[in-house]
Structure formats: structure tokens, C-alpha cells
Amino acid sequence: MNSNSNNSNNQKKRNFQIEAFKHKVVVDPKYPEKTWKILEHAIQEIYNHNASGLSFEELYRNAYNMVLHKFGEKLYTGLVSSMTYHLKEMSKSIETAQGGLFLEELNRKWIDHNKALQMIRDILMYMDRTFIPGNHKTPVHELGLNLWRDNIVHSSKVQTRLLNTLLELILRERTGEVINRGLMRNIIKMLMDLGPLVYQEDFEKPFLEVSADFYRVESQKFIECCDCGDYLKKAERRLNEEIERVSHYLDGKSEAKITSVVEKEMIANHMLRLVHMENSGLVNMLLDDKYEDLGRMYNLFRRVPNGLSTIRDVMTSHLRDTGKQLVTDLERVKDPVEFVQCLLNERDKYDKVISLAFNIDKTFQNALNSSFEFFINLNPRSPEFISLFVDDKLRKGLKGVSEEDVEIVLDKVMMLFRYLHEKDVFEKYYKQHLAKRLLSGKTVSDDAERSLIVKLKTECGYQFTSKLEGMFTDMKTSQDTMQGFYTNHGAELGDSPTLVVQVLTTGSWPTQPTVTCNLPAEMSALCEKFRSYYLGTHTGRRLSWQTNMGTADLKATFGKGQKHELNVSTYQMCVLMLFNNADRLSYKEIEQATEIPSSDLKRCLQSLACVKGKNVLRKEPMSKDIGEEDAFFVNEKFTSKFYKVKIGTVVAQKESEPEKQETRQRVEEDRKPQIEAAIVRIMKSRRVLDHNNIITEVTKQLQSRFLANPGEIKKRIESLIERDFLERDNADRRLYRYLA
């Protein structure tokens, strides 16, 4: 054996000299063949599990020498044919393996090959590092894998069988069997080690196709026999299964691909059928508050294109239908408070669904809001009803409720308020109802009242609430005035009835027509005193008594000595006081004495004489209605369980048809100046503007109060042209110009 050491001829850096060989180096022509045989033999031993008897150092040296003496090509070629030969042997034994042992044999051989390959590579490392790169050959390790791939995995007898075996195992696992996952992992890892192309072509692609078929069939089966909730559970389970499968024995990159398959076959393809499934679909889940099912549906559907929008659309149309039914239901409409409560309940319900099941998804919240906005405005009485609801709450509903809970209720009401298109209608009713509450002293909590005003102000601006605040101020000021009055005149008024006056600033309060009414002598004198007191301190003002809005407390003694305190309206007081001086009065006499307008008087007498439990007067004849020929007497036999009897009605009520028409008309009238003001404001700043743009701008400006009607805007423009605020352009008739 020759051992060469490279001369240090070219090692100029070295400081020492190495002597040249004293003898000549002769190269044996048989040398390469001999050396190769040694290595070949070694390879064989390695493959035969006999590596222990080999000397690594020796083999390394041999390989090294071959390369050194320029026999790398031979070495390489030999390596290729040697490995190929052994692999073909391995292949035979794999091919002949029976049934379940096939994979095991393959696995075993693979492990063997890898061990062998490692050893071989170590031995041939010099070649790997020098000859191979220089000659553009495949490195040993890679070569080993490629040869494995070509001779085993792609061999005709193995390739198909391998794939089928793997797929069958997966199928069995999908049908519930337990399989050897470790073995699967090793085999799959083998394919992965052979390169992404092998993994994809030899396994992943077919795997995905087969899976698609599998799930297509399964989903069809399920959808025929399961209800929506069950189906979704199954789909979810399958999805999780596949994810778990990937984590256990497939390439991580396959996860997205297989889940995509499941999503498509099980969800996307059946989306509409699921959502619309009778008795168990989305609508049913919503109706029954099935949060878990809904959440599952959301999570599954969000994985597929248009999944969430499908859910959202069905939810929206259902909500709109239910809402529409709700607001147009004739029965429900009879009770405004109930009406609004139903709306709030519905909103709470969907809020809960969206938070618990739909991930607080903003697009769903928007759909909820737009649906509510749609159907609330289908009923033109919604603004009135919401005000009545608030009235009920502030009158009694919120009695004893904690401050935080009050805020919660008011905030919910504000939510509904925001949906209204005709906020100015609400304002009108709110003002009326507030007036009645304030004047009858019937508000549960001043703080609650003010809190709501603040919320309205934040929402709509100062103008919306300035008059409402004026009402509160008037109440306070009146209190101070009364104090002043009694301080100044208290002494002389000792015997007179106690007077409480609320001075209302016209303009802040809802307008009422002044009516005639003759107060009883005791009252009129007292009222005159107040009037002169007030005008004494407020010159330049005018006072007019609103007799249709006041109340009175009367102490009455009846036939058998029954004493009661009667709480009545001013009108009723006027009528009753007449009976201090007469036992019997005809309708005409009462009318003459009080000068109360007849429709009001009839209503007043009816409430005094015809209502069970409150009939302090007796009427002849005893008919239900008030006739002009009727006669009235005090009902000496009047009884009541309570000492205090309330007869007056100043409670806010749902308006009658004619009242409603009147209010609507007033609202329309009020809108005209607002529209004009908006037009003038816009034209003043723009100077010249075309028709369509004016309409758009005006509508936008007024949006927070009401939806302006384009026809009405047009009429206002014409009115402004009439009054020389605007003119049409000479050349372009669609253009308007502001006239300063």
C-alpha cells in the first residue's frame, strides 16, 4: 500500500523544508480496480448489516486515494451501480411483502438504507467535498435519496401500491378504525425527505382528490338525514380530525389544503341548503336563541367565501320581516308601551346573538342597525310611541330603580331614537308629554329627566333641547315666584285656598289655544292678586290663565258625612264649586256659569258623573252620554275606599285620529321654515348652485331632524324666488343664484 503525502512544494509559507521522496513513486495500473473492489465490498457489507467488521479509517483512506489519483469518476460510477444493485435487492423484498407488512418492510428498508447511506457518505466524504462539486455531480446523500426514489418508490411494483396503501389507511381511519400512526408518519416523512415534488405528486395530490370525493359523498349523505345543527357538528368534527391528522403524520403545509377541501365539500357546497333548512336552519336557530349552534355556524362559514355574507343576508331579511310584522301588527299598535318594549326586546335578543355567537362582528351589528332603521320607520307613529314609552318610564316605570339601571334603559331608548327618520315628530310629542309630566308633578326622577335631555342634546345638538330645558327652568322659576308671592301677601291670604301657579314661557311649551272658563269667585280673586303681584315685578309681560291644564284638590263632604279629598282638573273644580250654591243644575246652567267650551264641558261632566267609583255627581237621566237637557246633582251616596280620590285625567295618551292629523300637520308646517333656512344658508355661502345639488345639500343638513321631501324643498325654493331671495339664472334654468 502506498501512502502518499503531498509534497510541500507549493507550501511556500512554511518555514521548514520537507525532503523529497528518495524513491520513485510507481502507480500500479491495477490500483484503481483493486481499491474500488475494497470499497465495493465494504458497501455490500454495510448493506448486509455487517459494518462492524470494517475499518473506517482504511476505507476512508482508500476513497481518498482514488480521488487523489484522479480516479474519482470510477469511484463515483461504482458507487452508483453498487447502490443501485442493493436497492434493487431491497425492492424485491419489499414487493413480496404481504398485505399489512408492505409498509413495515418499506419502512425497515428505508431505515436501513439511510443508515447505510450515512456510513457511505462518511467514507466518501473526500469525494463529496472535492470531486463532486468540481465535476457537477450529485452529492452522495442526495444521490442516495434519488436512487431510492427511482428504484423503490417509483418502481412500478411499489409506486401504486404504496399510494393505495396509504390512502386506504387514511380511509380506514376516517371511518373510525385505529391505524399505526407512527408508521404512517415515517413513510410520509420518507416521501417528504425525497423532496416536495415527490410528496406532492406521489401523495398529496391524490390524497386531496380522494378526500374531496370522500367528503363529497359524506356531506351528501349527511345533508339528507341530518338537521342543520347536527350537520354542522359533524362538519366541525371532520375539520378538526383533518387538522389533527396533519399534525400527527402529514406535512404541515398540507393543513391549509386539506381544510380547504373539507370546507368546500362540506360547507361551501351546501351553504344555502343549510341556512334555509326547514325547522332547523338559521332562522330557527335565531328564534330559539341557539347560541352554540349559531356560533358554530359562524366559525365554519367564515372559512368559506361568501359564508358570512350569506348568514348576514338571511339574518337581515328575517329581521326585517319580523320587524315589519311587529310594527304593523294592529293588536300591538294599540299599546304603545308594549310596542316599544317589544322593539327593545328584539334588539336585546339580536345584540346577544351577535356578542355570543357572531364574535361581535361589526358587519353584523351594522346589518342589525340598518334593519331596525328600515322597519321602525315603516310605522309613522313610532316617534310618538317612543315618547309615550319614555313617558311611562319616567312617570312610574323607573320608580325605585337604581341610577345605573335607569341609565341603561335611557341608553336603549336613545338607540331606538337614533333610528328615527322623523326626529322632529318625536320632539313634538316629547314636548307635549314632558309638559304634562311637569305640570302634574308626575315625574319619578328629576335626574332621569335631565339625563335624557342631555343625551338628546348630545345626539341632536343644542337647538333640539333648548326649549325643553326652558320648561324645566320655568318650573323652577315658578317655585321661586310662589315663594315670593306668599312671603309678600301671606298674611292677607290666610283664609284663601292655597294657590300654586306655574308660569310658562310661551314658545318653550307646546302651544295650547286659550279657552274661556269662569273661575269660582274664591279662585278668581286670588288669581287676580297673583296676576298683579307678578306683573308688578315683571312689567311688559302678559299673562293668560291656561284653565285647560290645571288641577285642584277639593275637600268634599257628602250626604252621610263621608269626607273625601278630590283631585280634579280645573274645569271639574269650576263645575263642582257651583254645587256649593245649588242642589240641582241643568247642563245649560252649568255651561252658562262656567263658559267652558261644550266639547270640553261634556267630557268633564262625563268624568264626574258617569265613571264608576268616581261619580261624585249624579245625572238625570242616567244615560251614558251627556245630553244638553240633562240635570246634575251631587251624588250624596258617593263612596270610595280611599280618602283621596283622583278624578282628573292629565295623563299622556295615544292620540286620537284627528289629534294625530293635527300634530302631523303642525310638524309639516314647522318643517317649512327649517327647509327655507337651510336653503338660504346654503345659497348664501355658495352664491350659485344647481337644482340637484341644492336638494342634496339641504337634505343632508336636515337629516338629523327629518327626511326632507324633495318636492317640499322645491316648493320652498319657489317661495324664496317669489320673495326675491333667489333667482333663476338667465342662461341655465337649472341654476339658482342668491340675491343679497
Binding site: I721, E722, R733
Partner: protein
């Protein structure tokens, strides 16, 4: 308030004696006739009123209801219908280059032809609004407006004029604003009677929108114009 027989004779005399007289001279006498009428107060001094106008119409051989009278009033910049101030009358004649009754008669066909001119017709039409309305009013009374429209659109031939007048009487019953008046001419000029090119967003006055609605309700389909009578 008729002119007495004596005055008429006086006029006849003047005419036969002088033949072609300066119009101003004759009309001065007419002016005088007007002022001596017992019905008239001094504010009407130097004014030609209804009687004077019918005499004038007689002289120039034109019917007082003839639309040419409107055109003449326009030339004279007359403030109100059925009256001419001296200034208006004299100024107008000067502008027209008329200095005799004969010349006046000769000019009538020319004045009539002016109505056919698109631009002049528009001026005359718009002029008619202020001229026909009551002094001190902003709007034109409906009856007067209808009368004027029938006159004007007989001249200009707008097929929908009858429908328009019927519509107003059935649905509107109020005075007509200046804007509506002037925009109607635009409407008649630009929108075809079958309404095919009517633009709902076209900034037409509200009354005209209502008119279109009325037409559609009553059976004018867009694209055909059927004749109906109520």
C-alpha cells in the same frame, strides 16, 4: 261710460276735414275725452283708459282682444293692461316711427309678424305677466292668467294649453307666480307634448311637476298624446 253723440261727431268732423291727421293730435282729444268723463278722477289725467283704447282700436281697425294689442303695449312698455299713460303712448309711437293713423295701420302687419320671432315672443310673453296683473299684487289672478295663456298659446300653438288650463282650474285655484309663468314658456318650448323628454329632476316649478302627474294620471302615456275632453 259711453262717449256722447256730440263727441263722436266732433271726431268725425275732425277726420273728414283733415283727412290724415297727426295721430298725436287726435289722441290728445281722446285724452281730453278721457279726462272729462265724470267717472274719472284727476290721477288719471294724461291717461288713455278703456274707452280711449276701444276708440283707438276702431281707428287702426284692430279688435281690442287681438293679440296685436299686447304687442303694441309691449312696444309702449305699458305698465298695466287697459291703460296707457301719455308718456307710454307717445314714447311707444315714436319708437315705432308712427306719426299718423295711416302709418299706424300700415305697421300692424309688421307688429303682428314680430310675434312669430322666437326671441321677441318670449319678451312679449314675459312682459304680459306684469302687464296683466293687478297693480300692487305679486301674483297673477288665475282667471286672467288663463285668459292670457289661451291668447298667447293660440298664437304660439302649444297643444297642451287646454289641458293646462283645465288642470289649473281643477287642482290649483290659486294665483300664478312669476316664476311659474316664465317657466311655463320654457316648458312649452322644450318639452314635447307627449312628455318623452320630460326630466323629473329638471328643476321645473312644482306646479308643472303636478301638471305632468295630472297628464299621466289622465291617460297621456309617455309617447302618445291622446285627445280627451272632460
Amino acid at each position: 261710460n259711453k262717449l256722447g253723440r256730440g263727441n263722436r261727431d266732433k271726431v268725425q268732423q275732425l277726420m273728414t276735414i283733415t283727412g290724415a291727421r297727426p295721430v298725436i293730435g287726435i289722441l290728445k282729444e281722446r285724452l281730453m275725452y278721457s279726462t272729462t268723463s265724470p267717472m274719472l278722477q284727476h290721477p288719471y289725467a294724461d291717461m288713455i283708459l278703456a274707452d280711449g283704447i276701444s276708440l283707438l282700436c276702431n281707428d287702426i281697425q284692430v279688435d281690442p282682444q287681438d293679440i296685436v294689442m299686447l304687442a303694441i303695449s309691449w312696444h309702449m312698455k305699458a305698465a298695466t293692461m287697459c291703460e296707457f299713460s301719455k308718456q307710454e303712448f307717445v314714447g311707444g309711437l315714436q319708437a315705432l316711427g308712427i306719426d299718423s293713423l295711416e302709418k299706424f295701420r300700415e305697421r300692424i302687419p309688421f307688429i303682428r309678424s314680430e310675434l312669430k320671432d322666437e326671441h321677441k315672443f318670449q319678451e312679449i310673453y314675459n312682459f304680459a305677466f306684469d302687464w296683466a296683473k293687478e297693480k300692487g299684487q305679486k301674483s297673477l289672478a288665475l282667471d286672467t292668467a288663463i285668459g292670457m295663456w289661451q291668447l298667447l298659446f293660440a298664437e304660439k300653438e302649444w297643444p297642451l294649453v287646454e289641458h293646462w288650463c283645465q288642470f289649473l282650474q281643477a287642482r290649483h285655484n290659486k294665483a300664478i307666480s312669476r316664476d311659474t309663468w316664465s317657466q311655463l314658456l320654457e316648458f312649452a318650448r322644450t318639452v314635447d307634448p307627449a312628455l318623452t323628454n320630460y326630466d323629473a329632476e329638471g328643476a321645473w316649478p312644482y306646479l308643472i311637476d303636478e301638471f305632468v302627474e295630472y297628464l299621466l294620471e289622465n291617460g297621456i302615456q309617455k309617447g302618445q298624446l291622446s285627445d280627451w275632453t272632460h
